[in-house]
Subunit: 178 residues, 4 copies
């Protein structure tokens, strides 16, 4: 109460949604959980996002942008003389070593899109963004294959709980590169 005028309400709801998905998974994202996390009334979440899918799309698109920004700010994948496979394996290592919230978020998106058509475009963007970035260092077909392999490697780590083996990743990525 007493917060009638709140111009950043919408953005705060999206951020809260990201935290909720990170903490409890997509299945845990409900209007109520996000309202509680954002400390706004329930009605406020349905006002700004008519359906949960709409909120989900907004949240996941923002998560994607966050990842892209990280790549850009590091100048990652831009040095055309570097060893692409090694660099990619290194990035993956960093990504998987840190707080896994971001990683799991991306793969929840990926896999949730399987059943929720509304998420497909966002999932496709994610793929294409990375593929395009990689295509600058190699050809489009190879870039696409690298994205596929990266996805598969991440899934194995996330699902089996095995620790990430950077040397293995570098080796097999290198096979695809040439």
């Amino acid at each position: 109460m007493a917060r009638r005028h709140d111009p950043e309400r919408r953005g705060r709801i999206v951020e809260a949604a990201i935290r909720v998905v990170g903490a409890k998974g997509i299945a845990g994202l409900t209007h109520r959980s996000v309202a509680a996390e954002a400390d706004v009334p329930l009605g406020s979440t349905t006002y700004h996002f008519a359906t949960l899918d709409e909120l989900l799309v907004a949240a996941l698109r923002q998560a994607n942008e966050g990842f892209a920004k990280v790549l850009v700010s590091r100048g990652a994948l831009e040095d055309t003389r570097a060893d692409l496979a090694a660099e990619l394996a290194g990035l993956l290592g960093e990504w998987l070593a840190g707080d896994r919230t971001g990683v799991e978020l991306e793969y929840e998106l990926y896999l949730a899109a399987l059943r929720r058509p509304a998420l497909r475009p966002v999932a496709a963007e994610w793929c294409e963004d990375l593929a395009e970035r990689l295509a600058r260092r190699t050809d489009p077909l190879t870039a696409r294959a690298l994205v596929a392999l990266v996805d598969g490697i991440c899934l194995q780590v996330l699902l089996t709980g095995a620790s990430y083996d950077e040397e293995y990743a570098r080796e097999v990525l290198a096979r695809v590169v040439r």
Copy 2:
């Protein structure tokens, strides 16, 4: 009614659960939906499977076995003289061309395992089964990489709605094989 003694009740519930997951996704698997699909009373599902996770594990394990049986019955991946990449690309094509229930089931499993530890072992089994089968034709590291790449390729097809390009798959799988 009048079906009190039904020794295969448990098995029929599991099969119904597989059909439900195939049709509506894991999120659509409820005691009620499976009871309706199996044409058994609601109480019967909770009697045979105390929790939903228990039923889910049973259903997904059975789905895995079904896939393995298909491979075996075809003698797939057994001819050591064949071109492994080509054969794998062909199998993928068949798998993705038919009724996609089985394919989607596998990836639903992945999705669910991400957040439900109870399903991790089942997801791991799935990976390992295929990896082991492939390892007979190549080395373990390559086998693992092939599984990862296969997963990534399938995801791209399922998520972007793009049609499966067998030639592309054969080409990149071949790069990993050697």
Copy 3:
């Protein structure tokens, strides 16, 4: 609580629904209002009646039966020597003079069926029941017309708030009879 075993639960819910519709109209019939009126948990109403329409149909069918019983118990419309128009006008007078809950209930049903196909059969039954009863005293066409006129007269009374004029009713019903 402490009322787990309650074999007449279903019937009590129907009766409560009738009281709710009588008091607040069909628009006031909600799972919550009927649960409160019947003094049962909310879940109990949805357990016995999966949708509101289902409950509505049950309630209104029971109301119809109640009306038919009243007619039968009075031996109404059975004396073939009586003046049909006068008798009908008299019955209408009694019906409209008493507690109007029953009357309004019937017409809410009638008119609600306009938009709710699920209620159409019940509305039709009501018409046909009365038409059939009247047809024993005259021909089918006349019976049908009498039902129509009775409906129109009741609506005028209910909607304009005018008091029922039995002499007028007898006169115009008599014109239709012959």
Copy 4:
């Protein structure tokens, strides 16, 4: 946007409300649905009509006027030498044969007035308008009875889904006329 000064805003809202009631029934008339149909901001509907009842009354009164205009423009019921019953039966046939929006609108009004006192005067006007028009061709009592019978006949058609039988209508209306 950019429609700040819009002198016919109020009228357009009323017309939108009529379309909404015709399409979805009175239960479907909400500030939101009418704002969407009229393509005006939500706030605009509450600004011009403080409560929904107010909007409903305006909408239904306008619908009445529309019907009256149709009668007048056709010169209906004005030729004193014509057969009143036949003419009325014919009008009913036309009314029921076309787009039923208008017909259903009238009976929705009846339904709503049963429970909403604010609408009673509008319902009464509707009756009286027609009765008065008919009274010019016959006496007031007969006119009132004709309105009642017309209502009853329409209800039977609308509720049972039976097709309109003009010959039957003419016959029973004729009995009332004399």
